[in-house]
Every structure is written in C-alpha cells, then in structure tokens.
Subunit: 207 residues, 2 copies
DNA sequence: AAGTATTTTAATCAAATGATTAAAAATTAA
DNA sequence: TTAATTTTTAATCATTTGATTAAAATACTT
C-alpha cells in the first residue's frame, strides 16, 4: 500500500495517504469521532470518498491512528521532563509548564478532544502509553513524595495538570461566557508560564 | 401533550415523559449527543421508540432539554456563592469548593459531558445562563481584584475551577492510567475539600 | 510498447438512523 | 355507556452512512 512508491514521488507531493490523515486530524478534532462522517474527511481532503477505505480500511482504523497521535502529542511532552533524573523538582515544574503551554497554544483543541474521546476506550490508550508510569512512578512523583510526605503526590499532579490544561479545556466557556478573545487568552497563557511555577511553589510550602 | 392528565396519575406513577427524560439524561451523558441513537434512549426507558417523537418531537429537542439541565447543574451551584455580598473571599472559596465537590461526587461525569458538548453550540448556552456575569462581574471577582491588583482575576477563577473540576474531567485517565479506584478517588476528593482553599490562600499570598 | 500493479473514480449497496404513519389501546369527558 | 381525546404500538419510510464494487486511469516493470 504505497510501499513501492518512488522516493521522488514522496519528496515532491504530499501523498494521498497523508492528505487523508491530515484532513482526518482536523475533522475528528473538530467534530469528534461519532459526529464525523467519512464524507466530511474526504471533502476536507479534496479526495474521493472511496479512498478512505482503500487506504485505511475503515473509519475506525483511521481514527485509531489519529487518536494515537493526539494522545502521544498530549502526553509526549511531559514524559521526558517527568523522568529526568538530573533536574530538581522546581526545574521540572518550570520546564513542564513552559513546554506544555507552548504546545497547547499551538494545539488548543487537543486536551478536550483527547479527554473527551478517551472516555470510550480508556484502558487501551492509557496502557499503551504507560500513563500509569508517569502518574505513579516518575522521578517527579518521587520528588513530590520526598517533599511532602503527608500528601498524596497525585494531588500536585492534578493541580499541575489542572492549572495547565484546564484553561484550554474550558476555553469555549471562557470565550463565550466571559467574552475572552484570542489575544487576551494568549496573553493570560503567557502570564501563566511564569505564575504557575510560583503557585505550585507556594502550595508546596503550605503546612 | 400530557397537559390534561389528572393530578392523581402524576403522583402515582412516573410519567412517560419523565421516563424518557431520565433515560435521555443517562444515555446522552454516557455517549454524547452524536453517538446516542433514539433507540438507545427508548431501550433504556423500556418504551416504544415512537414515543420519543410523540413527546419531544425530535432527538435534538430532547437533547436541548437535557443539556440545559446539565449546564444549570454545573453552573447553578456556584452562582449564589459567587454573588453573595455578605461573605468574605475566603468564605466564598471554602463554600464553593465544598458545595462543588459534593455535587461533583454525585455527578462525576457532568463536567466532561458539558464541556465536551458545549463546543458545538457555545454562544447560546453561555449567554442564556449568563456565565459572563459570573466570570466577569461577580462579587468574588470584585474581591479578587481588590486583593490582587496586578493579576487578572480570571487567573484565580481558572485555578479554582481547574483544581475543582479537572480531577473529574481527567478521571478516565487517572483511573486507567494511574489505577486509581473509586474509593481512592473519593478519598482524594474529600482531602481536596480542605486542601484547595489552603492552596488558593497560598496563591493569593504570592507576591 | 506491452504487461502488470496500483490508485482513483463514480455508482451502488446494505444497514442504520431519526422520523412518520395508521391503527389499536387506554384514558377522559359527556 | 358512548364519544372524544390521548397515548401507545409496530410497521414503514426517507434519508444518511460506512463500506463495497467494477471499471477507468495512472504508474511501474519488463
């Protein structure tokens, strides 16, 4: 399936397969799996509907590919930071917040899409990405345990992820509820890059 | 449409209309609008499929009713607390966190459902519930402005809502990623009732 | 250039879906 | 008790959807 295509072809044009995937990324992210029709994707790609089955066999299989990418995008940023043996807790938090917010500003719809779709097949995705290792056994978690022996480290993980991700998850509400424009939202997120590590620090100081 | 039903009938049995609504609340919450078939709701209600159109005219109209309830449930708890002229900022935060977590423990799927579905018609819902007033003009917001003149009050709103709501939004991930059981999750939420106000206090103390 | 393989196309299919229909059943009103 | 109204039922409908099909077009190999 496209395996025998010449190298020249690939470097010159975007392949049909990639065009479908790109369209799928956009449409699935916008509408979710159930509300997305294969026709929507074909239209967005400017291609014939039958090509979706030819290249990916089913809507479901196409979605799995996109979903894996998206989950990887959401968690991939944090894994190396959480598992760095060389940096301090404070350094990890600063780097994580900074990198995460940078990524999220480029993909503001990602968290809500992933969290929303993950409801329907949570075990598989979480296991394959070893999210459990990050949330239970990472270096950051060990550092949190040492720092605050009486409080479950998951609390701080929830706070850290909540403060970083929630503005994006709640963005439709903030936009249409509070009249928060794009520029204003971005400015707030830039401020949060600096504020969140300070807040986490203050929380770690609470007795 | 059920308007002329005797009072006796209503007090004795659950009405057909209410049975459909209750089934719809459950199925829509679990599957979302797009993936829910009218047949699913009819089966969950143990009723004939045609009754859905007889009583509610369309799947969409039934969903609107359920969605309004759910949005009201999500925001209704916080409005009186945010607008109480008599209580201090700290009191409001304590009461809000407490009431909110109580409500969320009984309806753990609510936030993700609302936030997920609100993407598809955000303006209407947010406007009708005057979410803007809560996020921009409530007494709590005024109190935050007085307390921290250099920081946009929305930051604290995001943190407060994020720390309260996010564990539920991310629950599938925490359950299947971190192996967090129901009991453990509830214990963490009970702890957070006390910890969140402390954390917010610490954050308000940051210079 | 002919033969082979792959990709693309447009039509079609089989099943599913929200909705409608007409009649039966139940309830209410006179 | 009959007539009128409302509710319920099961079948059916019209449309949509993911998927399949067969042929044409394109690309690759000899």
């Amino acid at each position: 399936m496209g395996k025998k295509k010449s190298e020249k072809q690939e470097s010159k044009d975007v392949s049909t397969e990639e065009r479908i995937k790109e369209a799928a990324r956009q449409v699935f992210t916008k509408k979710g799996y159930a509300a997305t029709r294969t026709r929507d994707i074909a239209e967005a790609a400017g291609l014939n509907l039958a090509l979706l089955n030819y290249y990916f066999r089913s809507k479901e299989k196409l979605f799995e590919i996109v979903m894996m990418e998206k989950v990887q995008a959401l968690f991939g940023v944090i894994a190396p930071v959480l598992n760095d043996e060389e940096s301090s807790l404070e350094e990890k938090i600063e780097r994580l917040v900074h990198n995460y917010l940078d990524m999220l500003m480029k993909n503001p719809d990602l968290p809500l899409f992933v969290l929303s779709e993950i409801r329907y097949q949570p075990e598989d995705l979480a296991r394959r990405l070893q999210v459990g290792k990050l949330l239970r056994e990472s270096v950051l978690v060990k550092q949190l345990r040492e720092r605050k022996k009486n409080i479950h480290p998951l609390h701080f993980i929830m706070n850290l992820l909540g403060m970083t991700l929630f503005p994006f998850v709640g963005r439709p509400m903030f936009q249409h509820g509070a009249g928060l424009g794009q520029k204003e939202f971005e400015a707030l997120m830039e401020e949060r890059k600096k504020l969140i590590p300070k807040w986490i620090d203050a929380m770690l100081g609470v007795r």
